[in-house]
Subunit: 238 residues, 2 copies
């Protein structure tokens, strides 16, 4: 698939509640509009917009763990809607403490709550925290992964496992999947041009009727490919 | 070019003089031995070994700036030989201070001295330092790049320019260049398999009789492609 042209916009939000690097990462959003082949397609069936977002380190939390961290009956407060419908960055943050005592402050919780708590870090974060061999996993696949302590204002949770580097993945609606010729769990490629030209050769396709077309990478990947400089991206079946 | 098999070894060195993350990065070396096609080639003409190294942030210094930082007549003290002949990590480190006052301690100087001082950072470092729009440049191409203050035990140097992200590049001897079918300034690709599968599509070929075959990437790139997990790499003409 070739795109004749793309346009780039970047969204930056600042907040005093998290450190600058985290903020700069969490809000680094590049929206690349597909033009060209889509003009000849049914725009309703294939919304002509490929979004690539860098996810900064964050935590998904179970309701049980949330109540340990923030008190009985606590409900996550949405702070900012994420691109996937229903998902949001919450007001709540925690302190992540590695098993050797080093910590990362202001780790943001993403909502809604999930059946199991999970922490997603970039390798750079894991080095900071002293976690070696951070496994690369799809979200939810946390069996046998490293643990950590998580501290909130009302209590501490020991995660026996659940610290991962999230594998780069694409969210697709069934219509998007048909457009790209892929199915759930297929492998796709993402080519990022300009700046640093990098191809991610193993992008996991995740197909769900609730999804909007979006590639999620982590901040190491975004920095390596200079996502903020990218004027061209191309998603295709591997 | 296909490799039938590769072997990986990783060298780790620890030192109390720089922070752990910097150490982990600076000494992360992956040596991948090419096997297969090279067995049928002249081993002397094409040493069958492709080395991929992640360069942590560092500084190259002019003799003039070195003497401002460390005193008149100071000579760099080699601490560890690097893979390229004659290059070394020096004992000397500096504090790098961004124009907004944020700093990075223990920035290591690499020797030998050069005609102009230059600081090479990963994007992650630039975010830490508050440098936006860190340009991606080949080493030595520093016209119009951001500046910084550098502090040594004997004085401070203001770099008017010279802070870059080094573009990923391959060092090749003329024999290596012939083997890969490339010339100085050509573009090559580096495919890194396993872990995170990533292809770097714009690897600058640098050919010199003094060079040994080696690809240099920065720590963001190494983290993004999970270089320490890589069991397969492939360098080829783009």
């Amino acid at each position: 698939m070739q795109y004749d042209s793309v346009s780039v916009s970047m969204v930056r939000e600042m907040t005093p509640q998290v450190n600058r690097a985290a903020v700069e990462n969490i809000v680094r959003e590049i929206v690349l509009k597909r033009v060209g082949p889509c003009a000849q397609k049914d725009a309703a069936a294939h919304p002509s917009r490929l979004v690539v977002n860098a996810s900064a380190r964050h935590m998904h939390v179970s309701q049980t763990d949330l109540e340990t961290l923030y008190g009985a009956g606590h409900q996550l407060k949405p702070r900012r809607a994420l691109y996937q419908p229903g998902n949001f960055a919450a007001e709540e943050t925690v302190v992540l403490i590695g098993l050797r005592g080093r910590s990362i402050s202001n780790l943001r919780i993403l909502g809604p709550v999930r059946p199991a708590s999970q922490v997603e870090l970039a390798f750079t974060d894991a080095v900071t925290l002293g976690i070696e061999n951070l496994p690369i996993r799809l979200s939810g696949d946390i069996e046998g992964t490293p643990g950590a302590f998580v501290m909130g204002p009302q209590g501490v949770v020991e995660l026996k496992q659940g610290v991962i580097r999230a594998a780069i993945h694409a969210h697709l609606s069934p219509a998007d999947a048909e457009f790209y010729g892929v199915r759930h769990h297929d492998v796709m490629k993402l080519k990022v041009g300009d700046g640093a030209a990098v191809t991610f050769d193993h992008v996991h396709a995740r197909v769900d009727p609730k999804f909007r077309l979006e590639v999620h990478m982590d901040t190491d990947e975004a920095n390596a490919c200079a996502l903020h400089l990218a004027k061209q991206v191309e998603l295709l079946k591997a």
